[in-house]
């Protein structure tokens, strides 16, 4: 009997010859990520639990992103507590203004193919883009890992998603994951792992795979895994021979298989206010917009800014258009490539890399009756301002085209 990717990763980690869905096992954690919102709570719980030291100072990464730069005086408290925790316990890896945690974890090489990583954020599923089993947990559980280096997990069943063929010109990874969420629904992968494969996926950049693994949690998934290839190895800085065991066997047991033909896919949006409320862009075309948001850990990478810049080149936006790169590295690369100049010339507002508007704390909060088309991962009630803001989620191409029109248009 063969195994799925996540079963193989758990087997290698635990040394167990065979694991199967439903088994409860204790894994050795390869890396953890804590962000600024939750560090005060993690620090508090860690000391309350009676731990005197971290299990491994090299395996802990602290990233300030949700509150950078601060937008309320009480935000500063999080940095003070974080800095004190770093000093007291010797945390080795701290990022204070480098970008969004989920971008940095693979970009800086903290989460590698075959690793098991946990983070205090639901979108920790992102690192599956390089074949890492990564998942979100709460701060109490994080505090327990910081002291023990261990975590109990239930081995999940896996849903296989096979996509073959060539995507139409106006269809992107974002449209693929939104379509998948519409088909799986918001709870369709709860407690389960997703495994993506097929020629469409093989042809995608690591950045595009990241868009998909980032949003897998919107179907409830515990993890979302891609088989590492040459592109992954170049990105993660590991030799292919280290990762050639990370693939789903032909005779692995999947609880469900979804099959797509890339040519059939279309540009889509998630309509207010559920991520699985998916419609073709065509159906909602003409919806007036107050604002467009291009960026976040879902779609704030160089390829996303490139698409936006190409569409907005020589044009002027008809509504506010906010651009938020996922990291400082991407920000600088986009400057180098000329994308930032193009976007600024088109009238876009370019912000610092960070969580900003996506978590509704700063940088473009909306009010009752307003409508926004955004490229991030959630359109829940109240996510970007009041509960009467209509949030549509779409690809950077849909967003940039719509910014020119001031209303939703097909890219």
């Amino acid at each position: 009997m063969g195994h799925t990717v996540i079963e193989k990763i758990i087997q290698k980690n635990t040394g167990a010859a065979v694991v199967k869905p439903g088994d409860i096992v204790t894994v050795n954690v390869d890396r953890v990520m804590i962000h600024d919102i939750f560090i005060p709570f993690v620090a508090d719980k860690f000391e309350e639990m009676g731990f005197q030291s971290l299990w491994d100072t090299d395996k802990v990464v602290l990233i300030y992103d949700h509150l950078v730069p601060t937008s309320a005086v009480e935000d500063v408290r999080h940095f003070k507590i974080g800095d004190a925790f770093v000093k007291k316990f010797g945390v080795k890896h701290v990022h204070r203004s480098d970008g969004i945690c989920h971008q940095l974890m693979t970009e800086a090489g903290y989460a590698k193919p075959g690793d098991i990583v946990f983070g205090t954020d639901s979108h920790t599923t992102t690192y599956g883009c390089v074949g890492c089993f990564s998942s979100g947990i709460g701060y109490t559980e994080m505090a327990a890992i910081l002291g023990t280096g261990e975590m109990w997990i239930r081995v999940p069943e896996t849903i296989k998603v096979q996509i073959d063929g060539t995507l139409p010109d106006n269809v992107y990874a974002k449209d693929v994951i939104l379509r998948l969420l519409g088909d799986l629904r918001a709870d369709g992968a709860t407690y389960k792992a997703l495994e993506l494969c097929g020629s469409t996926v093989d042809n995608m950049s690591v950045a595009s795979r990241m868009t998909i693994s980032n949003m897998a949690v919107e179907a409830g998934a515990k993890a979302c895994l891609f088989r590492p290839d040459e592109k992954t190895c170049a990105y993660s800085g590991v030799p292919l021979s280290d990762v050639d065991w990370i693939y789903g066997d032909a005779d692995a047991q999947y609880c469900k298989v979804l099959t797509y033909k890339a040519e059939d896919l279309t540009p889509v949006v998630a309509c207010p206010s559920q991520v699985d409320n998916i419609h073709n862009v065509e159906e909602v075309a003409g919806t007036e917009l107050n604002q467009v948001f291009i960026g976040s850990c879902t779609n704030g990478r160089l390829e996303d800014l490139k698409v936006a810049a190409e569409i907005l080149d020589g044009k002027t936006v008809a509504c506010k258009c906010i651009i938020t790169p996922a990291s400082r590295k991407i920000y600088m690369e986009a400057i180098e490539a000329g994308y930032m100049e193009t976007l600024a010339m088109a009238g876009c507002i370019i912000t610092q890399p960070g969580c900003g508007l996506c978590c509704g704390r700063s940088g473009g909060i909306l009010c009752d009756g307003e409508t926004v088309l955004a490229t991030n991962n959630r359109n829940f009630l109240g996510r970007m301002g009041t509960s009467k803001v209509g949030i549509y989620l779409g690809s950077p191409a849909t967003a940039a085209s719509s910014a020119i029109a001031g209303k939703i248009v097909v890219p």
């Binding site: 409860i24 919102i37 939750f38 709570f41 719980k45 309350e48 639990m49 009676g50 731990f51 509150l67 309320a72 009480e74 935000d75 408290r77 999080h78 983070g119 205090t120 954020d121 639901s122 920790t124 979100g136 947990i137 709460g138 701060y139 109490t140 559980e141 505090a143 327990a144 002291g147 109990w152 918001a186 709870d187 709860t190 407690y191 409830g220 515990k222 559920q274 978590c359 509704g360 704390r361 959630r378 829940f380 009630l381 109240g382 996510r383 509960s387």
Partner: protein, 163 residues
């Protein structure tokens, strides 16, 4: 076997963590400061109406969304005795157990119960409403151990010999 009875508040499917506690209130210093905003995007008056020992009955995928642990903490701080839902999101489920909030899975009670009704819970065995009994399952042993210890903090304190 533990038994309790409480007043029911009814919520729908996909009650996400931004509804349970919006991000804008997460930077408040304590969960006690945050609890008045619980469920505010959906029902701003609800946090003020919930009383000690009440029970939340909801649909599928309760607690979907972010990993914010304040979600189960707010529900505990509002003195809700337990949540009964058709299903739970994964992280919310773990966070609830780790904070000692009892979660029960049941897909029948939603068909019969109305807001304001009284409901009796026989933990690990059944729900009783209007004279009718509905079977429920017990949680796996490793999770009951954490719940019985009073949450993960207490379980770790025991391990570290501080209590």
């Amino acid at each position: 076997m533990e038994q309790f009875t409480g007043k029911v508040w009814v919520l729908g499917d996909d009650i996400d963590t931004d509804i349970i506690i919006p991000t804008e209130y997460l930077a408040l210093p304590t969960v006690e400061d945050m609890k008045q905003y619980g469920f505010s995007p959906l029902r701003p008056e609800l946090a003020g109406q919930i009383g000690e020992g009440d029970i939340i009955v909801a649909g599928k995928n309760f607690g979907c969304g972010s990993s914010r642990e304040q979600a189960p903490e707010i529900i505990k701080a509002l003195k809700v005795r337990c949540v009964i839902a058709k299903s739970y999101a994964r992280i919310f489920f773990r966070n609830s157990i780790n904070n000692g909030l009892l979660l029960i899975e049941n897909s029948e009670i939603q068909n019969v119960v109305k807001e304001g009704d009284m409901l009796t819970v026989n933990v690990g065995e059944s729900l009783v409403h209007d004279g009718q009994s509905y079977a429920i399952r017990s949680l796996p042993d490793n999770l009951m151990d954490i719940l019985n210890a009073g949450g993960l903090v207490k379980a770790m304190q025991k391990k570290n010999g501080v209590i």
